[in-house]
């Protein structure tokens, strides 16, 4: 009799765990496609604004490296979150206003490779910015920009 109580309790616990887990998954998937697109665009604009802030400083006669470092850190964090901005169904579709190409999902491996390279470049930029070699930081920024450009070429519709 005791064995069957433990068995039943374990089964109930498992069932609870499965329901809880799917509840979490559902919470994450609760964004409608339109909301997912809007969230993605907001995050990408934050990314662009951070990068602009850094590049503006690097172009200046006396760059404020504190601004560059703050930007580099934001960019690195955003880059880590990047893959989460492309849930299934948030690509081109009827009534959906996005520049994301369908290839992001049909060529997930290729897109994933681009994202990995972005993350690596962002980490590198973050590390180099910790120092004070403006030339090296600028070169790192250019490399990061090239990553943005190359992925946009492959996976973003031209405006």
């Amino acid at each position: 009799m005791r064995g069957s109580i433990i068995r039943r309790a374990s089964l109930a616990l498992c069932a609870f765990a499965v329901i809880a887990a799917s509840g979490v998954a559902m919470a994450q998937a609760q964004l409608t496609p339109a909301e997912a697109i809007q969230h993605r665009q907001e995050q990408l604009r934050r990314l662009g604004a951070s990068f602009k802030a850094a590049n503006d400083q690097l172009r200046s006669h006396s760059p404020d490296l504190a601004v560059v470092r703050t930007s580099a850190q934001s960019i690195a964090t955003l880059a880590e979150d990047f893959p989460n901005w492309f849930p299934q169904g948030s690509g081109p579709g009827p009534g959906l206003d996005t520049h994301a190409k369908a290839e992001i999902w049909s060529n997930a491996a290729g897109f994933g490779e681009q994202v990995s390279q972005l993350q690596a470049a962002a980490q590198s930029f973050n590390q180099v910015s910790a120092g004070s070699d403006v030339a090296a930081i600028t070169a790192s920024a250019r490399a990061l920009g090239a990553r943005c450009a190359s992925c946009h070429t492959d996976f973003r519709e031209r405006s």
Binding site: G48, A49, D56, S60, H61, R142, L144, C148, A149, S159
Partner: protein, 227 residues
């Protein structure tokens, strides 16, 4: 330009377009095409320098429109909509420089080129890495709006350029009047009322205006050394 400027007896050969104006005119198609190609191929550094040159030319032309040769002056050909009507009816006589209808084209072209170059100064690209020199003074969002407007104005410019070419073709094929030759050589045959030939502005004045325009654009390219 006037009616049927052919090889008529009594038609005098007149200087109509000064050198600086002709140089200004022909530089534009070259630079506009070059700017477009640079943007398409991702050469944003060259694109900016091409844009700075166009801006210098436009600023030069705007000032030249007040201090240049007679035929370059806005007061001479920008005459208002009544004169356009009179010209179209044939009520006005032959014109030596830009006729009132051509004046519309000149004003529109200069306005679009000025708008295009100024928008470029503030534009930021999608990657946040390439931007105009004055983009440091605006936000990423504002720079993106400037970039989108820069694309839109370019398309409008293409329409205006197409109209310009159609007009030149119309004059050549229908009115049998060669407008291209005079814009190259600066001279044309004119059988209108024999009056004072247009006064040509001295070269030093053109050099001075061009130098001032270039100096201003140089300062703009460096964001006035404020950043």
């Amino acid at each position: 330009m006037g009616e049927r400027a052919g090889e008529r007896e009594g038609a005098a050969r007149v200087r109509v377009w000064d050198g600086p104006l002709r140089l200004f005119h022909w530089s534009l198609p070259v630079l506009i095409a070059f700017s477009w190609w640079c943007a398409e191929s991702g050469n944003l550094e060259w694109h900016r320098w091409s844009g700075y040159t166009i801006l210098t030319l436009v600023l030069f032309r705007l000032v030249w429109g007040f201090v240049g040769s007679d035929t370059a002056r806005f007061s001479q050909f920008v005459r208002g909509f009544r004169s356009i009507g009179a010209h179209l009816r044939g009520a006005a006589g032959p014109t030596l420089g830009h006729n009132p209808l051509g004046a519309l084209s000149v004003v529109a072209m200069l306005a679009l080129l000025l708008a295009q170059t100024m928008l470029g100064l503030f534009a930021v690209d999608i990657d946040g890495i390439e931007s105009g020199p004055l983009a440091v003074f605006v936000s990423f969002e504002q720079g993106r709006i400037a970039a989108e407007a820069h694309h839109l104005v370019f398309n409008t410019l293409l329409v205006l350029i197409a109209l310009h070419l159609l007009a030149i073709a119309f004059y050549a094929l229908v009115k049998r009047e060669n407008l291209v030759g005079p814009m190259i050589t600066g001279a044309r045959r004119f059988e209108g009322p024999a009056g004072q030939p247009p006064r040509m502005a001295p070269l030093w004045r053109a050099i001075l205006v061009a130098a001032l325009a270039a100096g201003l654009v140089y300062a703009v390219a460096h964001a006035f050394w404020l950043f």
